[in-house]
């Protein structure tokens, strides 16, 4: 249990920084990026007849909620109707309890499984972790509906697809694809400020992370010269398109291959770490809370567990 709490804390703190402002960027179509150093939140808002309101992907850390609400009210007076949690990490679900109380009565038919102001969607394993007694999550913060592989529906006049990317960062990750706006919210699968956190205690794996990044690349379509087109909002960092996901996929794959090669040569974890297989990427991605050495250890253990010898 102590390990679980530690790794959960680690994942949520990996890129946490002191409180900062939230910057709102219009990505395209119905989708906005609420960017901050503490992590990104995706907001979809629309004016579609009989089916409009706000969908929020992740709710940030609890300390962000007031700032988040203030920025949301500046953007729209539409009610928040849906929350999607791409992970069970504290910095993705911290605002669930407050925001799920809703700001207005939605009226009309309720598409969710219970009469809540706000429906919260998450992958099955994320729900399991959030509803465990040791998570100490208030009932209002819990997902109202979960899914195994895929959840899709239409909201604000566009198709919304939530894909499970299980066994990547954890076993409960997902990404959200706004098909009309052509924007993907990638959660913890993708970051521009650090290595992906492979949380093995909570079901994460390096092979799942590589698979998820390749799935992201299958979904993205550049507009011209490998640029623009489908925009990707990372869990942490700046707004991106396919080119940055490619750069990140290449980096993760190359480091995975280097460590796999050392394992096949019979190297121990300490020997692999001393080899510094991430030395060309550490200046760019290593962070105090999730260093290149820690990333190497997570890959090593993940590959050993999957039978790489």
């Amino acid at each position: 249990m102590r390990a679980l709490v530690f790794t959960s804390l680690l994942a949520s703190l990996a890129f946490a920084e002191p409180q900062s402002g939230i910057e709102v960027l219009h990505v395209r179509g119905n989708v906005y990026m609420f960017a901050s150093d503490e992590g990104n939140i995706t907001v979809q808002v629309g004016e579609h007849r009989d089916n409009d309101g706000v969908l929020m992907v992740d709710t940030g850390s609890a300390s962000m909620t007031e700032r988040l609400q203030a920025e949301l009210h500046k953007l729209t007076n539409k009610p928040l109707l849906y929350i999607v949690n791409t992970s069970a990490d504290a910095d993705h679900v911290g605002g669930n309890a407050v925001l799920s109380k809703g700001s207005a009565s939605r009226g009309g038919a309720n598409n969710g499984p219970r009469a809540a102001d706000v429906n919260i969607y998450a992958q099955d394993n994320a729900l399991t972790r959030l509803s465990a007694p040791e998570a100490h999550m208030p009932v209002l913060a819990l997902p109202t509906m979960s899914f195994d592989r895929l959840k899709d529906f239409t909201f604000n006049g566009e198709a919304v697809q939530i894909f499970s990317e299980a066994h990547a960062h954890t076993d409960g990750d997902s990404i959200v694809y706004f098909r009309g706006s052509n924007v993907i919210s990638a959660g913890e699968i993708f970051s521009t400020v650090g290595y992906p956190v492979i949380d093995r205690v909570r079901g994460g794996s390096i092979q799942g992370e590589v698979k998820a990044l390749n799935h992201l690349l299958e979904l993205t379509v550049p507009e011209i010269s490998q640029e623009g087109g489908t925009m990707v909002i990372p869990g942490h960092g700046r707004l991106c398109d396919e080119a940055e996901v490619t750069e990140y996929r290449d980096m993760v794959t190359i480091i995975r291959d280097r460590i796999d090669d050392l394992i096949k040569k019979g190297k121990s974890l300490s020997e692999v770490q001393s080899d510094r297989a991430t030395r060309d990427y550490d200046g760019r991605y290593s962070q105090p809370a999730w260093t290149g050495e820690m990333f190497v250890a997570s890959i090593y253990n993940s590959l050993k567990a999957s039978g790489s010898e």
Partner: protein, 321 residues
Amino acid sequence: MRRRIGVLMGSVVLVSVSAFAQRGEAPTGFSLVGMWSGMYHEDELERTDPGPPPGDYTGIPINDAARYHADSWDADLVSVMEHQCIPHNAIYSMRGPANLNIQADIDSSTGRLLAYIIDGTFGGATRVIWMDGRPHPSKFAAHTWGGFSTGTWEGDTLRVATTHIKAGYLRRNGITFNDNATLTEFFDLHDKYLTVTTLAYDPIYLTEPLLRTESFLWNPYQPLAPPHAYGATCQPAPELPRPYGWVPHHLPGTNTVVTEFSKAYGIPFEATRGGAETMFPEYREKLKTMTIPPPQIFLTKFKQEHEDTAPEKAPAKEAAK
């Protein structure tokens, strides 16, 4: 009456000067507008064909991390679907191939110069140099191949600052820069020649700024490049039967190709590894302590020209058999 005309004329002049000042245009500088042909006389073999050989890291102030990264680079990477249509980025694009078509974006209501638009670089990473004093975007804004550029006049030199550039290459053989790299350029006009001096800063891979120059000749007869040269029609397609997600690269210590440049040109391998130290005259003293390998490329060429084609030697060889 004459006095009134004088006052009126004076007012016109003042209004004109005032309007000129309001446009934010200093009475210096020149117009970049026109067609400019790349001259390629600096580093021609690297910039055109055959391009830089693998392992040639000379002249670039890279650190160990950049060198390690370049050694892992595999030329097959450009065949990966997501890499096929990548254009030359802002830090590299002036190197060419680049027959530039520079246009001005003018505010039609005020006549104010808003931006210069540089088209014609390889792959279509059009660059926009904003001249209207706007700030650079926030750190959360998307990066592009062309980056975000702002220009200011320093006398007759246009100084251009560029940020928000996607990660790319400094040299087309695996030497790369990171996405937090920035670029400062100086555009100077000498008669019909436009010289662009570039200073690339990468706090992760470069120990000091990389300084390079590229020159262009004013050429109003230059034809516009066809759309495919801009990358507009680039469509990636599978080139090799590889599984999706394949990322070609050399594992550490396995790349033997990087030694070929040293052997071919007769340069000590250590000196081909780049870095600031190797770029300055003082390095000659260190070179004297190294073993200089025979330059195979010249030996081969010499042999081809003076031995293989010598007709009188053929019978001798036959006789020896």
